[in-house]
Amino acid sequence: MSLLHFAILIPFVVAAAAPLFYKYIPKVHTGWFVLPVPLYLFVYFLMQLSTVRTGDGVQATVPWIPSLDIAFTVVLDGLSLIFALLITGIGALVVLYSIYYLDKDKEAIHRFYLYLLLFMGAMLGVVLSDNLVVLYGFWELTSLSSFLLIAFWYRRTKSRYGAQKSMLITVFGGFAMLAGIILLYLMTGTFSIREIIAQAGALPGQDLFLPAMILLLIGAFTKSAQFPFHIWLPDAMEAPTPVSSYLHSATMVKAGLYLVARLTPVFGGAAEWFWLVSAVGLLTLLWGSVSAIRHTDLKAILAFSTISQLGLIMTLLGLGSAALYYGIGDAGNVYVIAITAAVFHLINHATFKGALFMVVGIVDHETGTRDIRYLGGLMTLMPVSFTMALIGTFSMAGIPPFNGFLSKEMFFTAVLHASQMDFFSMQTWGILFPVLAWIASVFTFIYSMIIVFKTFTGKFQPDKLDKTPHEAPVGMLISPVILVSLVVVFGLFPNILSYTLIEPAMASILPSLLSPGDYFEVKISMWHGWQPELFMTLGIFILGTLLYLSLRSWRSVYQLIPEKWSLNHLYDSGLKLLERGSLGITRTYMTGSIRQYFVYIFGFFAIILLYSLFKLGAFQITADSYAEISVYEVLLLAAMIFAAVAIPFVNSRLTAIILLGAVGYLMTTFFVVLRAPDLALTQMIVETVSVTLFLLCFYHLPKLKKEISAPKFKITNLIISIGVGVTVTLLALSANGSRLFDPIADFFIKESYNLAGGNNMVNVILADFRGFDTWLEVMVLGVASLGIYSLIKLRMAEPLPLEGGSKREDQ
């Protein structure tokens, strides 16, 4: 156990304690007790900066299931550190914000902090684990805690809907990821990411390489809300705003990005990886930014904006993986800048998106609505929130001097380079990258403007608001102010990040490009001359402004696309179809009719046995071992067949019983002929008793309906019964024909008197040689008699009403 292990475990421990604080110290908002945890962890991770910078970072192992190669190994390198700082830093700010956002008397805040800390610990576990199985465990825990947090207000239908949707989609991805992890294990023989990376060179040729890649990417795409799995994120906005800010913009949705970045050394350099990651990212970027404008709810706009920005980072990670195509010793190549941009934008996005969500939360909290149609003119009423929204959205739109501008410029550099690639068949498609990225950025600009100007400028409409809006309390403003300051600071002095965080992170994403002791050099500058990137940005400003001003005239374009074509509709109807389909399928065969089930059982029995009998060539009939057939046997058999065959054709139950009894007594005679006196005796008495019992049953049956016609004839019944009869006959003949060993009977004949002192061999076997069977059979008899006794004696006075399921509606 190292401190790093404790860093993961502390949130879980405090999570367990949170309800206790709530119960025993109700005067103080529970959030104050929770706040020290992320704060402490943030400081702890900050102190690791220098160790990560110089070396491999911290590593520690605790064995968990050694026989399965599962160890709780934690590794802190550059990539993990960025995420750990984001998780704990924004976590602390979100906890602080939530203290003012959630009322301690009206809300179940003990549950809130329980889930939130659960999530924090799980997320730290995801980014710090080196063992893929442990990582998967924490991964699912983030899905679970996210599910719980989305449905925090569980009395609302939409919350439950959103929680279920996110659960289904992320867990679907999680399972795919687990399969991918197992495939990786099959290829490499280890679950440790470091060891897999060490073996990465041998992987690309293998058969499982592509399936493993695709499965792992499905996991990453579902978690990071990439197209077409992004549909859960807008519905997750039903969660309290601190949760949206923390999970659904800054941390959890970046887990997929983390996974992609983490596995880049394994899969990067392969054309499939490049194409999947960057194309899906680009599509998500475009789709998210275009869809955002459609919405009027601020959180929905931010949700689609998050989707779009995640797509941007994903694209960059995809483009950056091309750097690995060149291999060792080319650290200076142009694709590395894509990774730099990805890491940089990852940090930037967390800062401004976290702040924007908090601002939206403030607006919601102070006005009672998040709909931009009702909002407007809040600038003078909420100046601080306005300033923060302005900086956040300008950064998101990529306007200087904020940090979003820098990462967007780098993004353009990367896509422009991508258009000049001459591998992975980029010659044909490469030009799409800058074009689509540019279009997406224009839309990003437009929705950014919508967020800030539709909310804070324009006409103030107090009559449409439930509350009188005013500036939020100071406590609620602290967190977004800090985040916004970071936006400005990172924008003006980006290089404080580059040396401390980005370079080590790049070293862990592209380890093979570095020779030992070397490191990446990242210099981010605000001004780099009259480059095409700058003109692209200028174009965005001009076109974006024009489009924003003329928004009213072209927004109705969105109405042209009917709701039916949306992915949400596809998901909903797919789910409905699945439910209805499975219900339909179940209803077609689970009819509740015993006859049907017997048809299945016997049909299956006959088919599978006949098939295997002939498939395995077990069918053989040899007449050598047959005894002579005597005339008695022939006569008895004829009588027996007559009695048995007659049963289905008689019209009266009494006749059927008597015929059944006849079969039984004929059987007795058969035992006599075949020289089995004990069996004959027993068979005779048992047959008498059972016929008597049958008669008893039928005496109490309701009056027989006068059935003139013979019992109903069903062709399936005939086929099945003949099939079963033939099967059993063939099986018996084959079994007799292929006797492999001498029977054990000789031993009993020889030894029954010597060993057991009895001449009646049957009885000696029953009581002595195989007494155990007899012992249990008398037990069976005892149980049966007690069963009959209790059935008769312990009857309810009134028969209980039948439960709902027993009555069938569909027939």
Binding site: G757, G758, N763, D768, W775, V778, S785, L786, I792
Partner: protein, 140 residues
């Protein structure tokens, strides 16, 4: 109005003893001849059923104040204890043994522990059959 079935009752009085004797014969014959606990038990039950038919179950209850469920339980207990008894001699469960003894009146006789087991079977079968038949018969 009660039907007078004196012939049946008189015949039953005699026949029952023959049946019971035969059932005991079947039981003891089992070791060397056809028969045994199972058939003997069924035959005993058959005799008792004849009594039930000739008289009525209430009378039989009075004549034989036996709870047949307890008979079943005793039978199962005897069979089980016979099996467990072999542990006392360090033998596996349900190991049987036999030997020949010279007894007064009977002379040289074979005694086998298997017979104890058969007694268990016998009692169980009697108990089971009678429980089933009586509980069905007494049901209104």
């Amino acid at each position: 109005m009660k039907i007078n079935d004196v012939i049946l009752q008189t015949a039953a009085k005699i026949v029952v003893f023959i049946i019971l004797t035969f059932s005991i014969y079947l039981f003891f014959a089992g070791h060397n001849n056809p028969g045994g606990g199972f058939i003997g038990g069924l035959m005993t039950a058959g005799g008792l059923v004849l009594l039930c038919l000739a008289y009525d179950t209430k009378t039989i209850r009075k004549v034989l104040p036996v709870d047949f469920r307890i008979v079943t339980a005793i039978g199962l207990l005897v069979a089980t204890l016979t099996g467990l008894g072999s542990f006392l001699f360090g033998a596996p469960f349900l190991s049987h043994t036999f030997d020949y003894f010279t007894l007064p009146l009977l002379g040289k006789t074979e005694l086998a522990t298997a017979t104890l087991f058969e007694i268990g079977v016998y009692l169980t079968v009697v108990g089971v059959s009678m429980t089933i038949i009586l509980s069905i018969g007494e049901d209104r």
